[in-house]
């Protein structure tokens, strides 16, 4: 009898659907969107929706994610982040890059670092959720809910250019989704492939 399936060992969509979602807090130590700190939520609206074919969220123009240290009182750490930024291209913005690779970004992992990801939001989103993409293929946890980081901004919502600022705990490749909801509501997802490196 099968029990407690993990997504990574699923051998078909039958097992994937029954797998346990992965806790986003296993990966992310802190996340802010436009300066607003996200909150952990067991969300019931994350996975099963009628989806817009067009995502309201995208990377912002040709801007690249960059690394900053949280140790701003330590100039050696500030310089280390500058050195990392010079030595790493975090996003390939070439217009000739095939579309399926444009979602891939490199991020620096570790509690000493914050990665700023430049995003652009079309329209106004009243709620944004961040989670691991593969969670959305499951039926959720025992309460049919999904571990996400939620961002809300009162009546103002989120629109235009902004940074998603994150601190990562782990190294690895992580397919991610930023989920957006308008007041209508219209739901859409923005897919990213994070490669978290030292």
């Amino acid at each position: 009898m099968s029990c407690c399936q993990s997504i990574d060992t699923a051998n078909s969509w039958i097992q994937w659907i029954k797998a346990s979602p992965i806790n986003i807090l296993d990966l992310i130590a802190k996340a802010e969107l436009n300066g607003i700190v996200g909150t952990y939520e067991n969300a019931t609206d994350f996975a099963s929706q009628t989806w817009s074919a067009t995502s309201a969220i995208a990377f912002d123009g040709s801007l690249l994610p960059d690394c900053q240290t949280v140790h701003t009182d330590d100039m050696q750490m500030v310089a280390d982040a500058e050195q990392w930024n010079m030595q790493h291209v975090t996003r390939n913005v070439a217009a000739t890059l095939p579309i399926p690779l444009r979602k891939v970004i490199f991020l620096r992992s570790g509690l000493q670092w914050e990665m700023r990801i430049p995003l652009s939001i079309t329209g106004t989103l009243t709620k944004v959720e961040l989670s691991l993409r593969d969670n959305a293929g499951t039926r959720g946890d025992g309460q049919a809910s999904y571990p996400v980081i939620t961002f809300e901004n009162g009546g103002t919502g989120f629109t235009g250019s902004m940074y998603l600022t994150i601190t990562l705990k782990q190294l690895g490749n992580f397919p991610m989704i930023m989920w957006g909801k308008t007041s209508a509501p219209v739901y859409s997802t923005f897919e990213m492939e994070w490669i978290a490196v030292p």
Binding site: A10, N11, S12, W13, I14, W16, I17, A47, S48, Q49, T50, W51, A53, Q87, H88, V89, T90, R91, N92, A95, T96, L97, P98, I99, P100, L101, V104, F106, R133, D134, A136, G137, P175, I177, W179, T189, E191, I195, V197, P198
Partner: protein, 209 residues
């Protein structure tokens, strides 16, 4: 000094650019396309120089049926039954309209040269397809091999080109998780003949036993 970087080990786009492309035939033992009057047959292993750097348009290709598995050993009842058992307890594609779009490209396939996977796509037209490559997605982020070329499996259309339902048959060598693309070059018609358009249909293959 860095040399001979594998795509799986790169730490940023500088290194990815310099990494060595991976051979699609490390995974694929056989790939056969059937596209009706548009042509088909076994894919030719070629080094393509037009695979990676193009002006791209969004793909019009879609998957229209869950992948199926049958055995190549059709003379052995046990293998025929094994393929039926596998199909009974494996759901290869989640086609639910409520599934978020980024997960709709994920399909499960069966590894092993005893098994033939069938994938079915729709090439909707109205512009027909002239050339199809099957290749590993991540190769397109590199600068290619020493000659700026990329390992692909290639099909060239016959007649007026490929449109409609297309079957792709695959025998796969090993389990794993692979990002694979169908690279598509259109076959425009008209006077003067417009420039061809290039697109990629992305798939995430989870190849299991």
């Amino acid at each position: 000094m860095s040399c001979c970087i594998n795509i799986g080990e790169v730490i940023d786009w500088y290194e990815w650019d310099d990494a060595k492309p991976m051979e699609i035939t490390d995974i694929v033992a056989l790939a056969e396309l059937q596209a009706g009057a548009g042509g088909g047959g076994y894919g030719s292993k070629v080094r393509a120089t037009d695979f990676a750097v193009q002006t791209w348009v969004a793909t019009a290709v879609s998957m229209i049926q869950a992948p199926t598995v049958r055995t190549n050993g059709t003379d052995k009842g046990e293998l025929v039954a094994d393929a039926e058992y596998w199909m009974f307890d494996h759901k290869t594609w989640n086609s639910a309209l409520t599934l978020p779009i980024p997960l709709r490209k994920v399909i499960f396939l069966r590894a092993g040269t005893k098994w033939r996977n069938e994938l079915r796509f729709l090439f909707p037209g109205p512009v027909a397809t002239d050339v199809i490559y099957l290749a590993l997605r991540d190769n397109a982020g590199t600068r290619g091999d020493a000659h700026g070329a990329y390992p692909v499996l290639k099909w060239t259309s016959t007649g007026s080109g490929i449109t409609g339902s297309v079957q792709l048959y695959l025998d796969l060598k090993r389990p794993g998780r692979y990002h694979v693309v169908l690279w598509v070059k259109s076959k425009p018609t008209g006077t003067p003949t417009p420039a061809p358009q290039y697109s990629m249909y992305e798939m995430e293959w989870i190849v299991v036993d």
